[in-house]
Amino acid sequence: MQKETNLELVRQHVSVANGLPNEHYIDQSVFDEERNSVLFNQWAGLDVCSEVPEIGDSKPINFMGLPLFIIRDNKNIVRVFQNTCRHRGMILVEKTKKIQGAIRCPYHSWCYSTEGKLISTPHVGGPGQNTDENIDRTKLSLVEIRSHVWRDVIWVNIDGTAEPFEEVMASTIDRWKELDQKLYHGGEDGKFSLKVKGNWKLAVENYCESYHLPWVHPGLNSYSRLEDHYHIVKYGSHSGQGSLVYRQLTDDKGQKFPDFKNLSKKWSTGAEYIALYPNVLLGAHRDHAYAIILLPLSYSETIENIHIYYSQPNTSSSLKKKNKDQWKEIFEEDIFVVEGMQAGRLGVKFDGGRFSPKMDEPTHCFHDWVASKVNDFRNNNHQITNVTE
């Protein structure tokens, strides 16, 4: 049965607001409601284009129970499809692979082009007869999921109702317009995944604020102190933190990563870390960037897929590895707080928590966004499609 949580206190000013109620972290029905109200009807991060670098590359992804696959089509466009044959509902792409010609369903061999068009229906009209008057191929293309690519991230709007990506994300795109440059994925030295026993929102919340740095990241805090950070808060859109003291990584020979071109002075020692709601965490620096895509597995489990990017294609492999290891150590330091907050929400008398008006505004900004989207969904009397049962 659907629980309808009370979100009035969440939407108050940060100085008096409470955080999201426990049910938003530990209740299956609220998880299902959020899937529809804050993920499927918004622009959510799914994966990155670098995972399908060549024409024909395809990869299946289960997104909150929804079977999808991404593919780089024959025209070099990355597309997202529901991973379900239009004939008998068979899964089409079971593992990451290169589609050399057509996508052939392994069951009855209905074939689709990489653009999703149904191109052959073998024996559909009887042995040796590939046509039937009742089978109109033009109406049986694969179900394509609305998608958009920005900063290599593949964003999807599952239910197709969101406003255009550029409009929804306009303030973030504008904030980082000088960083809108070609990104080169770090390859195997530029990606890793973490599995966290925590609700996906807790990873967002932890990312939003710098308040925890002195205690959770003491090594980082030795040069990047709390007072060297500033809040990034855009209600209704995104939040995060900025640093004024970014220090470039160097290898044993004093080599650094090459910078992105024509950046303003702010980026000489500046860095910004933005949670782009609902589920993408972005980091930007003068010489590298990253994207973390949060894939919720259940209300209490999340996969964090991290991808690191550089301004040039052939940067030092050892330096990339050093950078990857450094970020991995920092993100791993955060796991115990995400898992600890998840466990803490089993405390039935926890009221969502009080925010520090000075330090927690970026976190409240996210809670406020979630609450507003859930409220909008409820007010529009949307039906919840439960795909997990």
């Binding site: 050399q100 010609g101 057509a102 052939r104 061999s109 074939c111 191109i119 052959s120 073998p122 024996h123 009209g125 042995p127 040796g128 007869q129 590939n130 046509t131 191929r137």
Partner: protein
Amino acid sequence: MSLNNKILKAHHNKNLSLLVELYQEAADKVSTRQEQNFFRVQAYVYALEVGHHLTPILHKKLVKDGVEE
């Protein structure tokens, strides 16, 4: 090895390009139009899957015979 066994072995080895050739060979060995089309469809499907260079030729034949669009 019989053609049937060659086809089974190619399926087992997932050698799709070989299946294109073997099913074409099978099509050439049967007498009725329906049997020919059956095997030619098999060849065509695997040709589609692997992006085989014979795909357009097979397609043309099937269209000519009125069994493909």
